[in-house]
Symmetry: C2
């Protein structure tokens, strides 16, 4: 039967028209997103190589078993390393190539956890022996911290490392079921070595708490587990996420390692078994901050993918009442839809930009740290706790909202968006569980508060102290003088409205943060239960808001952008601020921050929030024609998105149809279940009906 | 290596102690949940039969391919039918047995969509021929509405049914790619017949819009597709949801069916091709309301499962600071955790109870409808639109929150909670997309508003009109007299506080609904973009709030409960009201409804919402010891939950360990990927490191 490809023609036309209507210069904006042309060209080059290589083909993966996905994952890792060698890729090339694969793979545990910890904390002797091998992946590592019964409370870990002076060895042991290492990425089947967190026990039984030990897990000859080690894969994850990663378990039965294999840069044990104190315990936090900074970038790009797919689909999908062209309307034209999608796009832009800035801050800090200067550590820690919570929580919510915005087809695996959620969702838990991190963010905010106002909160801070406020607590300046007053808001229909002024919106976010921190400082002995989340979110959003203000200002001095690009991007960043304020309304109203000079009046409207909500609506409406340009500028290839609904040419129905044909259930017209189950069921049913029909004798 | 089962002993002890501490009579409450002992006993009997039958074994399903899951699903359907026959199950037994299987199966499309539509709309002749067969499943059906390019706008469906007077046949045809039927459950591989929504075209080309046609799809001899029909499975769904259901596509190439196969109870075509108008078009809505009523119950039980698993885990999981027993604290003791879990439990109880009441209302309406009285239809429609949105959105959020509350292990597929989300999440889209339904809920609310105040909204309603307000818009009474005033709130630390009074909380929810509807009536020509959601949610929560008040009153007259059971359940229902009001704070503050006589003062607290938030915290804390009793009373067996973290005996670590051993990746100590990928990668790495080490010549 021939298919009439009418829809494809219309899809294509809709997408083309949308691209014609967009006013921004896509390449200019792309260079902004990729921080210049060089990075973008690197990506283009890599995508060309990878997407054409059959090893990276994605067409079968939706139907693979976990074992097949794992096998394919390792094939991809090996292939990237082959390409690195044969094409002479730089370190950056390889790192980017891995980041372009849209699946979490075991190698990432080697490069983001095992290697940095080893490099930071191993002795020179150990470094000399292993650093080159690790860099070249002549051994593959993992980082064994979490245990079956123990997570974020590291001090409760049960695995022991007992020092044996007689042989100058440590005895690594898992004394209980709950001490089994668990969730360890790459441990299940891949890693040859690991860094093990274990409780250091000295002769006489003295417990020195958790320390790190370098342990070989598998034979380099046969890949079999070494004696005394039981290890394996912990099984599938929710939503089929992380399928290609072998999160594993391990139990150690008195495994002996030489004393040199304790990572002893910061703490040592003498041959006789005496403990030498670490000089700078905090130095070991560096790695954690590095990972958290990276998470903002990851979140930004994940939101970006979901935004691109859902916006492209909303442009070609037509539904509901007919428009002037006699066709059903493009769904992106519905305010109820575009008001959901454009803020998601805005957050993608903000997080990508913020993530880059944060990674730069991290580099500065790391450099100073290596020179022994830990002064930036506390500030970066204060920033990243709340940011990690905000960016992970927001990103998974945005991705899921984008998926739902696509209605029925959004639930098809071929939409490609469910997969992003499945792999990103554990980020709300790992690297600091979000509810636990909220409390750290609050602690940092309170520390800044008491730094200003003293332990009783009553000292009047000097102007010098106020001037020294860092970016993470800059908002506290408002509390420093009773003369400070929250802004009076103008609520008009034009650009003069406070709801369209970035600076006013930022001030509102900062005032809210200041009053929330003031509130928790008063109620610290008897807090209500949502205040930790509200303070963490409030202070982080004030910080991000101020950064977004800087991004807007930065646009004006960016020589790569035309005036119109600047105008459109400014409106996108403004939308971020508007929707952030909108989501903070309960706080703003609670603290009397909605001081409106001339509240919106429509009929007998009694709703003081109406003006802001209308401003969001108008801004979104204005951005609709730019949506396709702004999504194209994110620079994703079809291979990266792997989404039938997000295809660049807009031919979504053809793509869904083509994909459905590869469903293995369709290999046989009559499924195997027919003979076994359907046929007997139908026969039984006919018999019962027949019996009922026949008059009883 | 022997495992020391220390953790298991502690887990078991923790669970036992929790059960000792609970004060409610679990059986009494169970009977409340199951609406009496009879239903509970029916369930116990069925669970015993099913859970011991190997056909219903769940231990392998986490690793099955879609085809295997589909095959297993049909095996289960067939087995239920066998058991029905061999054990003499009643219709209710069979229906309950299916509801106990925690996987959406193709048979449900037969029983909840195909059969009811057929019975309601088929002619007597068609009923005589097929009703018995359908009831006995001598044929298996599906309901073909959605098309690749068309969803909720039924009038835009493209499939045509052209009447051919010469042969007295309809010609069913898919003229375009986008007209392909898509997403149709059980169509892919299972159904033998279907009810097809198609545009009725009369001779001369007159288009009568969508009508229903009964079409045989597959041969009853061979199960092969009949000539002119292309059909198959549309592929996997997001998160691996609905894996055992063959959502399918179908294209019709001029398929002829006899004229009798139009479902002609409400609209007919004469032999000559003349159209006879349907008498009561609305009567066909009945089926939709039936499904929506059922969704409240489904949502309630799904939340219940997630609540049971997460609360049981929170009881045995220990983490963080040490308690008086020298062990880490049970995580349920952390306010930041139990304040998230107990409201979820409360919503499970409320939705289960509400769903039952709604199904009863539906029965009453259906009975009157069959007698030609459609008076209750509008009211049930008004109720169910908003309720469908509320219960689906809330349930998936609650399930995901419960999963996240379990931290790392919550992401294991063995937690069993991800699976619930994966299968329930499409409910936000099907049976009316939630954002579309919000608008219907608003329309119903505005209709009630204008019924009171006239089309201009200015008429003063008579006391008679006010007295006639139905349950779905009862809250509008406050707008009827300027003398009505919102309650003044007492904010104290004791039971006298307004935050502990169900009636006051319900009044607040009703006032908020009334003012929101008033607001949208004023701004209908220029609405802000979130107001539809706010009005829909507000009016629905007012309705539900009032029902929860009735539930609390009902407890007091329930002879099956002891005074203590009543007290505990009342606090649980109160928690529902408190958290609902808490989530409505932005609206309450906007409309000046937080009129507190004596605001909470702690230090210099400026937060008027503090009193409510503290009341929630206190109520949660008080309910912690009852949590295990209230979850046990939901009456789930381990087989139903299929969760390593929700096992009845609390032995979660042993259960995780046992489950991990069945991961197929663990079948081989050295995975196949070793020879293919890991070994060459390690060798290459060693070579590179070696080369670097060797001094260059």
């Amino acid at each position: 039967m021939a298919l009439e490809n009418d829809a494809t023609a219309q899809n294509h036309l809709d997408m083309m028209n949308a691209r014609k209507a967009t006013s921004i210069d896509v390449l200019n904006v792309k260079h902004l997103v990729y921080n210049g042309g060089e990075e973008w060209q690197r990506k283009e080059k890599l995508i060309r190589t990878i997407s054409e290589d059959p090893v990276f083909d994605k067409s079968k993966r939706d139907w693979m078993t976990r074992t097949e996905k794992f096998t394919r994952g390792l094939r991809m890792i090996n292939r990237i390393h082959e390409l690195e060698q044969s094409l002479g890729w730089s370190k950056q090339d390889t790192a980017m190539a891995f980041s372009l694969l849209d699946e979490p793979l075991p190698i990432s545990l080697h490069t983001t956890a095992f290697e940095p910890v080893f490099l930071l904390q191993a002795s020179q002797k150990l470094l000399d022996k292993y650093a080159d091998l690790i860099a070249a992946r002549g051994i593959l590592g993992c980082y064994l911290q979490t245990e079956l019964g123990h997570g974020s409370n590291v001090s409760a870990l049960e695995t022991t490392a007992t020092y044996i002076p007689e042989t100058k060895e440590f005895d690594i042991h898992s004394p209980t079921l709950t001490s089994s290492k668990w969730w360890i990425g790459a441990l299940g089947k891949t890693a040859t070595h690991g860094v093990v967190q274990a409780k250091l026990l000295l002769p006489g039984g003295e417990d020195k708490g958790p320390h790190l030990f370098f342990v070989q897990l598998r034979s380099l000859e046969t890949h079999q587990l070494l004696p005394g080690i039981i290890a394996g894969d912990i099984g599938p994850k929710s939503f089929n996420g992380f399928a290609a990663t072998d999160n594993g378990f391990a139990r150690f039965e008195h495994v002996r390692i030489p004393k040199e294999q304790m990572l002893s840069k910061f703490a040592q044990v003498t041959d006789a078994g005496e403990y030498i104190q670490p000089p700078h315990a905090k130095l070991s936090y560096g790695g954690m901050l590095y990972i958290r900074s990276g998470m903002v970038t990851t979140a930004g790009w994940a939101i970006a993918k979901a935004a691109v797919v859902s916006i492209r689909y909303a442009i070609v999908r037509r539904q509901g009442g007919k428009g002037p062209d006699g066709l059903e309307k493009q769904v992106i034209s519905y305010p109820s839809l575009h008001v959901r999608l454009l803020p998601i796009l805005a957050r993608a832009y903000v997080f990508i930009s913020l993530g880059r800035a944060l990674s730069q801050s991290f580099q500065v800090m790391a450099q100073r740290l290596s020179g022994g200067d830990a002064s930036l550590l506390a500030e970066l820690h204060a920033m990243t706790s709340g940011l990690k919570v905000l960016c992970t929580t927001t990103s998974v919510q945005d991705i899921e909202d984008a998926r739902r915005s696509m209605g029925g087809h959004g639930y098809s695996a071929f939409s490609g968006v469910g997969r992003i959620y499945a792999d990103l969702i554990p980020s709300v838990t790992y690297e600091g569980e979000n509810f636990v991190l909220d409390q750290q963010a609050v602690r940092a905010a309170l520390k800044a508060f008491h730094g200003l106002f003293g332990s009783e909160g009553k000292t009047r801070p000097s102007s010098e102290t106020v001037a020294k406020l860092t970016a993470s607590s800059y908002y506290l300046r408002f509390l420093c003088s009773p003369r400070n007053e929250p802004p009076i808001l103008k609520d008009t229909d034009n650009s003069d409205s406070s709801w369209n002024k970035p600076e006013t919106l930022i001030l509102l976010l900062e005032w809210r943060a200041a009053l929330l921190v003031h509130e928790i400082a008063q109620a610290a002995h008897d807090p209500d239960l949502t205040i930790y989340q509200r303070v963490s979110k409030g202070s982080t959003e004030a910080f991000v808001g101020r950064r977004v203000g800087e991004m807007i200002n930065g646009l004006r001095t960016n020589l790569g952008l035309k005036a119109n690009d600047v105008a459109v991007l400014s409106r996108l960043y403004l939308l971020y601020l508007q929707t952030t304020v909108e989501s903070a309304l309960a706080d703003l109203l609670s603290f009397g921050l909605l001081r409106i000079e001339n509240p919106s009046r429509v009929g007998a409207s009694r709703d003081p929030t109406r003006g802001l909500r209308m401003a969001v609506a108008r801004n979104c409406l204005g951005l609709v024609p730019e949506a396709i340009g702004l999504t194209d500028a994110l620079g994703f290839s079809d291979w990266e998105l792997d989404s039938a609904l997000g295809v660049h040419d807009g031919n979504v129905y053809q793509a869904l149809w083509d994909k459905a044909r590869s469903e293995p259930l369709n290999d046989k017209e009559v499924p195997d279940a027919y003979e076994e189950s359907i046929k007997p069921m139908l026969a039984r049913g006919r018999m019962i009906a027949e019996r009922k029909r026949r008059p009883k004798l």
